[in-house]
């Protein structure tokens, strides 16, 4: 067995022992850029923050770009995966663990101790790292930076720098190039620049919430929180437009696009979480667990998160509709009944029209989750959640001593457990351990909704090319969602899986041209076979028709 261990930090070059002088300079430049940020964390006060910030980010982006150009443009076009399982950083080696721990700690500080990054609290001036970003924040929104602005900037920088690297890596593959260009655009424009610029419109009597248009409920779990809905309603026509657009996105636009193209239209073309996973996280895609156990865990986990997310959102909305009823069109009762009717009709429709596509375990799970959800709705309709008090210390190892109303307790627990710990600390911090899509695969409720639709009502599939599969396993290995692609391909069967985000890398790395992402008719989309194309036609007829 191969024991070649390479202790370099290189993510790109097959053998970093051979990195060129140019690459060494680029690596050094990038590290200097990073070092400026670290100095800022330790409260080094730079004389001209704007210049130092520009130099720092410029060196990071420029260093990555020069390094990647040297790594990929000096070679012929093709698949560049040499050594990914030898390198410490991309095969759960010491460097992988070190990076994982570093990222995890960064997320913990970001979410729970932003003052360590220099965030000024109670009106105090920003210091340290956050202060370093003040000039850029002022330039965009006119306000000083917050820890979220710092995070948003670094996030965008990572997607741009590593997106460029990914585009070079796949310069022979236009699907990969366009998709990466798309996530780079949506992150920079929709998640970063536009919301910051829109903040300039805010004044004393007009204020819009920070609104990343593409960030839909339920991925955006606070989309329908009272403060946000109130702000939208108070911001007259513009606000109302955004509020309605948010709802239309969830119930009309997303289902339509998912029907036409599969959930990839969002997950690997638009989404910010997906964007980071596909760019900065690309080097870790092979680390996702392809085992049957992981898949079973995934099914329970991700569907539970969806139910949790729906229940929490309904609890929050129904509570403020209850105690603040004169402000809204809906009353609590009407709201709960319409949600109940909607879910029942949807559920009954799926059971009736798709009964042949659901196996026993899927059916059992679906019925269980449905009953659970409806039970919560009934519970909410009989109790005023704002009157039920929960002491948070029981759920937070004593870290949080506050007492919450039931609805805000649910909301806080969701925000803490799912929004912060799962999607951030585990989802991204653990890239080098669990792979780059652990959150998307195990936790994202939006991915669950689109996934159910992708499995049952979509034209999208990965077509298997007749009998050409040689079971090599490159496809499964590179699947970031942990799908055992080969298990389907070697049976000549199309891949129709709810979790597939349509990144297209399985198709790219296949050495025999077996896989193709396609949108085609729904008939014959799922095609289990006994005998593959190429054998005796009588035998194929005999076995495949049984």
């Amino acid at each position: 067995m191969s024991n070649k261990i390479d202790h370099s930090m290189s993510l790109a070059s097959p053998d970093a022992l051979n990195i060129t002088t140019k690459q060494k300079i680029a690596l050094a430049a990038g590290l200097v850029g990073l070092f400026i940020l670290i100095l800022a964390i330790f409260n080094v006060d730079f004389p001209n923050r704007a210049v130092f910030l520009a130099v720092s980010l410029g060196l990071i982006i420029g260093g990555t770009a020069v390094y990647s150009r040297e790594a990929y443009l000096t070679k012929l076009e093709g698949i560049k995966n040499d050594g990914v399982w030898f390198k410490s950083i991309s095969s759960r080696g010491v460097l992988g663990w070190a990076l994982g721990i570093f990222l995890t700690l960064f997320y913990i500080v970001l979410y729970f101790y932003p003052e360590f990054l220099g965030l000024g609290t109670n009106g105090a001036e920003n210091t340290g790292l956050v202060a370093l970003f003040d000039p850029l924040s002022n330039l965009l929104s006119g306000n000083n930076a917050s820890q979220w602005f710092v995070y948003g900037t670094l996030y965008t920088v990572a997607i741009l720098a590593f997106g460029y690297k990914f585009m070079l890596k796949y310069r022979h593959n236009r699907y990969q190039q366009l998709r990466t260009g798309s996530v780079m655009f949506f992150q920079t424009a929709f998640a970063f620049v536009i919301p910051e610029l829109m903040a300039r419109l805010n004044s004393d009597d007009f204020s819009l919430p920070y609104n990343d248009l593409k960030n839909m409920w339920p991925l955006n779990y606070y989309a329908f929180d009272q403060w946000r809905v109130d702000q939208f309603i108070n911001a007259q026509t513009v606000g109302l437009f955004f509020l309605i657009l948010g709802i239309v996105m969830v119930f009309v636009i997303s289902p339509y696009l998912t029907y036409k193209y599969g959930k990839r239209w969002y997950c690997s073309w638009v989404c910010g979480c997906g964007g980071l996973a596909e760019t900065a996280g690309d080097s870790f895609r092979q680390l996702s667990d392809k085992g049957v156990k992981a898949w079973k865990f995934e099914r329970w986990m991700i569907n539970s998160v969806l139910v949790f997310s729906i229940v929490t959102t309904v609890a929050v909305i129904s509570t403020y509709l209850g105690y603040d009823s004169e402000k809204y069109w809906f009353t609590k009762g009407v709201f709960l009944i319409s949600i109940g009717v909607f879910l029942t009709v949807l559920f009954a429709g799926i059971l009736y029209y798709k009964r042949e596509e659901l196996n026993k375990s899927a059916l059992r799970g679906a019925v269980g989750y449905y009953i659970l959800t409806i039970a919560f709705l009934i519970f909410f309709s009989f109790f005023d959640l704002s009157q039920i008090k929960i002491n948070a210390s029981y759920f937070s190892f004593g870290l949080n001593q506050n007492t919450y109303n039931f609805d805000s307790a649910l909301r806080s627990f969701y925000g803490f457990g799912i929004g912060s710990i799962f999607s951030g600390v585990i989802g991204t911090g653990f890239y080098p351990i669990l792979g780059n899509r652990a959150w998307c695969r195990m936790g994202c409720p939006m991915a669950t909704i689109m996934g159910i639709q992708q499995r049952l009502f979509s034209k999208f599939r990965i077509t298997t090319n007749g009998g050409q599969c040689i079971s090599c396993g490159n496809c499964s290995n590179s699947c970031e969602m942990g799908i055992d692609v080969r298990a389907y391909a070697q049976k000549g069967e199309n891949i129709v899986r709810s979790s597939c985000v349509g990144c297209g890398v399985c198709s790219a790395v296949c050495p025999r041209g077996v896989l193709k992402l396609e949108n085609d008719s729904m008939d014959g989309r799922i095609n289990p076979t006994e005998v593959l194309l190429g054998n005796d036609v009588d035998l194929m007829d005999l076995l495949n028709k049984n």
Partner: protein, 433 residues
Amino acid sequence: MEHVVIIGNGISGVTVARHIRKNSDKKITIVSAETDYFFSRTALMYIYMGHMKFEHTQPYENSFWKKNRIELKKGFVETVETASKTLRFAGGDTLQYDKLVIATGSKPNKFGWPGQDLEGAQGLYSKQDLDSIERNAPDNKTCKRAVIVGGGLIGIELAEMLNSRSIPVTFLVREDSFWNGVLPKGESAMINRHIKNHHIDLRLSTNLKEIKSDENGKVKSIVITETGEEIECNVVGLTAGVAPNIDFIKTSNIETNRGVLVNRQLETNIPDVYAIGDCAEQRDGGIGQRRPIEAVWYTGRMMGEVLAQTICGNTMEYKPGHWFNSAKFLDIEYQTYGWVFAKPRENEAHFHWKHDDDTKCITVCYSTTDNTFLGINTFGIRMRHETFDRWLTEKRDVDYVIKNLKEANFDPEFYKHFEKEIIATYNNQLQTV
């Protein structure tokens, strides 16, 4: 309960086992001396290149075998006693069978070169070969140069592997162009250039005279027949084709030639003994235009699918459909459907198109008597198996195929299409003819 014993856990043996299990309750045992579990032989190269680990090349989880009641026995069969239906293993133990399937695959050819058994001289076929190359060529300091002998599919894979670790490669090819016994001239020439673009030292029309040893019995250098040139190297890849791996059968009364001789039902001369995959040889010559021995992944799998029917009581002939195959030459993928021979045979003609970037081309073979489409080789453009299989069955003419080529395209979305260019070239060539 009838006991079916299968020797060999490659794609043929595993396929027959799986299909017997689907159709019956028989006791099934797979014997292998190579590895504990089935792995994809075609993926060995990716382990050395660091794309995957060995366990990733195993298509089924380890629990699969127990769940499907397929027993696995690790051991090397020394002799087969067909009279008593007994296998004798190297360790001395024995195994009784009711039905025996021989699916032992191939072994690399060695043509009696001096020094061919030195440490560092090896083929690339088995897990043991992979371990050996990892030992002898872990990096470009231990292995300063490697020489590959034999210009076929395994040779070019080995070159790609060594290249991935920056080990300089000299590639000796007996023919005057790479794999031109199979590939038409234009394609073969394109691959020659592609190999050189990867900085591989390709030597055409060049033969190995001998491999020289250092004082420790390791490879030190090789000598070229034509020029007498001596090339220093630490590894010699012997990749001049493969032959059936059936030495252990020679002492039995199972009839063999180069491979184990079988009839169209894949039965040997001994009742209840069958042979499939690389090691089987069709007694009456190849089926259709196929060779009597087909050492190809796909045919091994197809024989397994068919034989399972026979063993389960539904006797069937091995009647493969239209020929297809695939490979990858460094960065260029290759697929073939139907028959395209290196030189058009009688009443056949080739249409060849090559893209300016020198990484994509197709060759279409058709009948000059009635214009029937006979086959296509495609390089750098993926094509749909199902479409060509149908066109071959429907006996479409070549005009139809060229005009509808777009329907067969299987490249990823947003890729550039070349059908217009191909049609234009096709029309031009027809006018000049």
